[in-house]
Point group: C2
Chain length 175, copies 2
DNA sequence: TAGCCTTATGCAACAAGTTGCATTTGCCGG
DNA sequence: CCGGCAAATGCAACTTGTTGCATAAGGCTA
């Protein structure tokens, strides 16, 4: 249900096509939401069907048409409703932790490889975050509250990832 | 796909019924995996159908029968295969972060309430973790490596939650 | 003593997410 | 000049997860 809300928010900030949104998810929203293009296209179409979005088809010569979506009044209302009600807590799912509960059966070589590889993924994520911060929040002091809020989310993403890195390095060292 | 693996691991540690597993999820595995009873019963039945689990039905007087599951040889093999292959990264989904990207439309009162409520949930989680630690890992020094591994996961869960708490308190204070 | 919680299981319908495949053109590199 | 990638969309089948409901007995509490 939240994918819908995330789409309402991104399109409220700026109208765009499914493809546009995909790029935003990959770039500035990497720490907020990720979804496949199929999910986006299908959900956008449903939301149009439900009257939350209006769609303008821009024909392009020699390329598939661009379908630019933007919020309708009903879409804005749906967004306000979603914002006003508290989120339900999402269930915990940590498959990596599960492997730790089968420590004896987890082959040492696979273990080392997986953990060092995981550490690399975390480091890459930190690099991505740093790039986003440089591009969008180069001067945190001069941000308005509305700009400062997204910056907070990025900061938390960084801190959480740093915590993960510290932990995984301790575990690697100990084994 | 990981639910299966998590079930293989918990049942490998100790055979049990769907209900047993649900209790373990609520207690000692709260930071690892959560699932509804329907998911468990359905998945256990499928795994039996696939030959990964054997099931012994213990009739009880005046109560529904208990179905005790345990791994078959095929189940142990499936577990080893899963352990050996690296996990695929799971997509990021942070609906709370999304709200921060609609800061202006997020009513101040709802915002305050949601954030303080969230903070309370985090604190509760820390309490749960502390209880698990007392019960299962009261003396970390004397743990074998296989016992120490699950303890590591708990420690990370605690540190991540602490990071969340610090962050949410900063945000509350700033607004 | 009526009503809810716990034990213990399950079906059915639906919503959400994944995987595999398909289209069309232009551009860029080897 | 051939192959793959980027732009831009989509269908169909499948797996996972959620929601609502159902059963049936005993124990606890107001």
């Amino acid at each position: 249900m939240s994918l819908r809300a995330v789409l309402l928010i991104t399109l409220q900030r700026e109208p765009g096509t499914g493809y546009d949104i995909l790029q935003r998810f990959k770039a500035g929203l990497a720490h907020v939401w990720q979804a496949s293009h199929q999910q986006l296209y299908r959900e956008l179409d449903r939301m149009r069907g439900d009257g939350l979005l209006a769609c303008e088809t821009l024909p392009q010569t020699e390329r598939p048409d661009r379908k630019v979506y933007q919020l309708t009044e009903a879409g804005r209302q749906a967004l306000d409703i979603w914002l006003a009600e508290p989120l339900s807590t999402s269930p915990v799912r940590q498959p990596l932790f599960a492997k730790f509960f089968a420590w004896e059966r987890w082959p040492e070589e696979a273990r080392r490889e997986e953990l060092t590889d995981f550490r690399k993924q975390l480091k890459d994520r930190l690099t991505t975050y740093a790039a986003i911060e440089r591009e969008w929040f180069s001067d945190p002091q001069s941000l308005t509250p509305a700009q400062r809020a997204p910056w907070h989310t990025l900061r938390l993403g960084q801190r959480l990832t740093e915590t993960w890195v510290e932990w995984v390095e301790e575990v690697i060292e100990e084994n």
